[in-house]
């Protein structure tokens, strides 16, 4: 891929809202004990359930602070997280000031937004009304929220993004796949800037799903959030004098099915290794150029082992590996974008803190020293079904 510039970041994460707060959170992670009580669902009925402590929310999320208090009533949490992230991103990129475009135009700015599970909040709420009362009583203003691309549609409405609006779904890999989509849309001249990334919102249904699957533990945290970048063709970004925070230079993806007609869940080291190899090839670099890997290690044993194997094979046993999810939680459709946001912070000079560095610090068993200067970061995502994607980011030249 031609180098694409990241010119802005908007983020609502479990360690803070906005680029500055996010970077600060990565420098000095907030203590988990200081967290506010859960607000996305009523935790009262799970009192005494230890797994509740493994659920991370965007703390004190108050969308009205960023969006004003009009028009928020029918929006679900996913939409509000994404709209806030988009607004912060457009301003950080200098495309907007005081919520007005000051560079480019709505017709030339688009959105590619990943999400894995849609608005479980809206779907389960309407299902509940339909089952317990009557389908005739479901709130028509909330019905559109049940559609998978609703949140990204609302982002366009709130932020006036008209060039294109593409919702992307590939589970945990979607955040990186959105970058690949944007790359194709740039290549075909469909937009000058695309707000790229993903979002996932906490809800009782999402918590229950992970709880029932036994996928929560002190090492496997479930999170939420939205992370969106302003991505632009490098020459256009330079032309408009945009701040260039980092560059994206390569993407790779792969799918490998299990050997036998096995179960649906399939952590594939082979897919992950191929995705990394493809991303490096597209970036025109070798494994030795990778300074650190922002992996998608999430505390799920089988997946983590396979991902480490793949990184070890593709980059080498001494590859320095970080696990942003240990801090941010598993954010599913937003995961790839959260990994990229973390990589962006490193490329901007934030040192990876102990909480995100894997121990041992590499893909093998020994110790690897963290390079003093990080110029090239590999971001990886491993899907639940044999899918995997990777992206290469480098320091702005």
């Amino acid at each position: 891929m031609s180098p694409r510039a990241i010119t802005g970041l908007g983020i609502a994460s479990t360690i803070g809202i906005g680029k500055e707060a996010f970077f600060a959170g990565l420098r000095h992670p907030p203590a988990i004990v200081d967290r506010a009580p859960l607000s996305s669902f009523d935790p009262a009925k799970y009192v005494g359930d230890d797994t509740l402590a493994q659920v991370l929310e965007v703390p004190n999320f108050d969308p009205a602070k960023y969006l004003g208090d009009k028009g928020l009533r029918t929006l679900d949490r996913l939409t509000k997280l994404l709209v806030v992230a988009a607004r912060l991103c457009l301003h950080d990129a200098g495309l907007k000031k005081d919520n007005q475009y000051i560079q480019s135009s709505p017709e030339r700015v688009g959105l590619c937004c990943s999400n894995a599970y849609g608005s479980l909040e809206a779907i389960t709420e309407l299902d509940r009304v339909a089952k317990l009362e009557d389908a005739r009583y479901i709130n028509p203003a909330k019905f559109p929220n049940t559609v998978s691309n609703s949140a990204s549609g609302y982002v366009s409405i709130w932020e006036d993004l008209r060039a294109l609006n593409v919702a992307v779904s590939d589970g945990n890999c979607g955040g990186l796949d959105a970058v690949a989509c944007a790359d194709v849309y740039f290549e075909t001249g469909r937009a000058d800037a695309i707000i790229v990334g993903g979002g996932e919102a906490m809800s009782e249904a999402l918590f229950l799903a992970f709880h029932k699957l036994g996928a929560l533990s002190p090492r496997a945290l479930l999170g939420e959030g939205a992370a969106l970048f302003s991505l632009e063709p490098l020459d256009l970004a330079i032309e408009r004098g945009a701040p260039i925070l980092a560059e994206v230079t390569g993407y790779g993806t792969s799918f490998v099915a299990p050997d036998t007609e096995g179960g649906l869940i399939h952590p594939s080291a082979e897919a992950m290794e191929r995705a990394i190899t493809n991303a490096l090839a597209e970036a025109g670099i070798t494994a030795a150029d990778v300074d650190i890997c922002a992996s998608s290690l999430s505390g799920l044993k089988a997946f983590d082992a396979r991902e480490l194997t793949a990184i070890g094979k593709a980059i080498g046993p001494n590859a320095c590996v970080a696990q942003p999810k240990a801090l941010l939680g598993e954010t599913l459709g937003a995961g790839g974008a959260m990994g990229m946001a973390t990589a962006l912070a490193w490329l901007q000079g934030v040192s990876p803190c102990a909480e995100v560095l894997r121990t041992p610090s590499n893909a093998g068993h020994g110790e690897t020293l963290l390079p003093e200067r990080l110029d090239t970061v590999l971001v990886t995502t491993m899907g639940y079904y044999g899918n995997a994607s990777a992206v290469v980011m480098r320091r702005a030249q």
């Binding site: 389908a135 691309n149 008209r162 779904s169 590939d170 079904y385």
Partner: protein, 372 residues
């Protein structure tokens, strides 16, 4: 439905297992809600019997992500697996992106299209939006009542010209350019000025290297709601100011199959190219003076069909228009428009990766094809 359509598409294309395996084969599908029935069952169990009622094994089966995974598993494809949930325009989004993947050299074969199942929540939602007709769907009719929901799956095989020639395949159609835009206006209603929709159609025409005069027929989005019909009539008037281009809505026959709709209609488009027959809009009785379009009313009609457009609109203010052409009728190679504002660097990079390609769609007989 998706797996059945995938198998039909692959058989119809005469693709062997060796053509389908490996990293150069991608699966890109559209949908509105994916496997919504799984979630409905999970929800039902949760509501009726509390969290103990939820079957653990069912949980991983939910997600729009899974449709292309299932297809890739069944075919052995190892390239990109991607869902573009673009509601009622999802088929056009997926097919267009699939064509770009091939044109940019990222894949040789893409299994693409869309699928949707009929499900209670969607049904009651449309009822509550007062968008549903009692008996029938009558697009562009003065007395239209609204839409009728349907379901289905339609998948196509897109191939690079090189790949198709190498294996001696016959192209059923070529995918030309496609246009995308977003109204950024209302979550369910199209913009009354239809500016986004007009842009998308003009873009599809321009990106196909043709002019509006070259378009023989337009497959309408034609849901049977007044807001849709007015917007679409406006698009036709603006894009084709000097000609009355025939237009028709197969939703009058298939119902509105939501995420699958524009993929089913892509199949109808290819059939139109093959037969020179425009499918009718049935149930048309009373002309609507506000929708002055050249409707193929009630009876199928013969006419030239070398180059046609598939129009779609969707929740979220999504607009997408795809051009389909009889093989050889589009300027060769299909011209990918130069980035409009890119400088020299972007252009050079683009040229180095672009290949001369005419993706070919090979058609499955879709579940509902007989109705068309």
């Amino acid at each position: 439905m998706t797996l059945a359509a995938a198998r039909m598409a692959v058989e119809d294309a005469g693709l062997k297992k060796t053509h389908l395996s490996g990293p150069r084969v991608a699966v890109v599908l559209g949908t509105t809600m994916g496997e919504a029935d799984v979630l409905e069952d999970l929800d039902d169990a949760w509501i009726q019997r509390g969290q103990r009622g939820i079957k653990k094994g069912m949980i991983p089966k939910y997600g729009s992500t899974l449709l292309p995974i299932h297809v890739a598993r069944s075919l052995g494809a190892e390239g990109m697996v991607l869902t573009l949930p673009a509601a009622c325009a999802a088929g056009n989004y997926a097919i267009g992106f699939a064509a770009d993947l091939i044109r940019s050299g990222r894949a040789d074969v893409v299994i693409t299209g869309a699928a949707e199942l009929l499900q209670e929540l969607q049904f009651s939602g449309f009822v509550r939006l007062a968008a549903m007709a009692q008996n029938r769907c009558q697009p562009f009719d003065l007395n239209r009542q609204g839409l009728i929901l349907g379901e289905g799956a339609a998948l196509l095989v897109l191939e690079s010209e090189e790949h198709a020639v190498r294996r001696g395949a016959t192209a059923q159609a070529e995918v030309g350019g496609y246009g995308l835009s977003c109204d950024a206006y209302h979550i369910t209603r199209p913009h009354p000025d239809a500016a986004g929709s007009i842009t998308a159609m003009r873009d599809a025409i321009e990106r196909s290297g043709i002019t509006p005069d070259d378009v023989d027929f337009v497959n309408a989005h034609g849901t049977g709601t007044r807001a849709n019909d007015l917007a679409e009539a406006k698009v036709m008037k603006e894009v084709f100011p000097h000609r009355r281009v025939p237009i028709s809505s197969v939703k009058s026959m298939l119902g509105h199959c939501m995420g699958a709709a524009s993929a089913l209609e892509a199949v109808a488009c290819v059939m139109t190219l093959e037969t020179n027959i425009y499918p009718p809009t049935i149930g048309y009785e009373t002309p609507d003076p506000d929708c002055n379009v050249e409707l193929v009313a009630n009876e199928a009609r013969s006419g030239r069909a070398d180059i046609i457009l598939n129009n779609s609109l969707a929740f979220g203010g999504y607009n997408a228009v795809t051009c389909f052409a009889r093989p050889g009728k589009l300027p060769q190679p299909v011209r990918l428009p130069r980035p409009r504002t890119h400088g020299a660097a972007g252009k050079a990079a683009f040229n180095s990766t672009a290949r001369r390609i005419a993706p070919e769609s090979e058609l499955p007989p879709p579940p509902n094809a007989s109705a068309a």
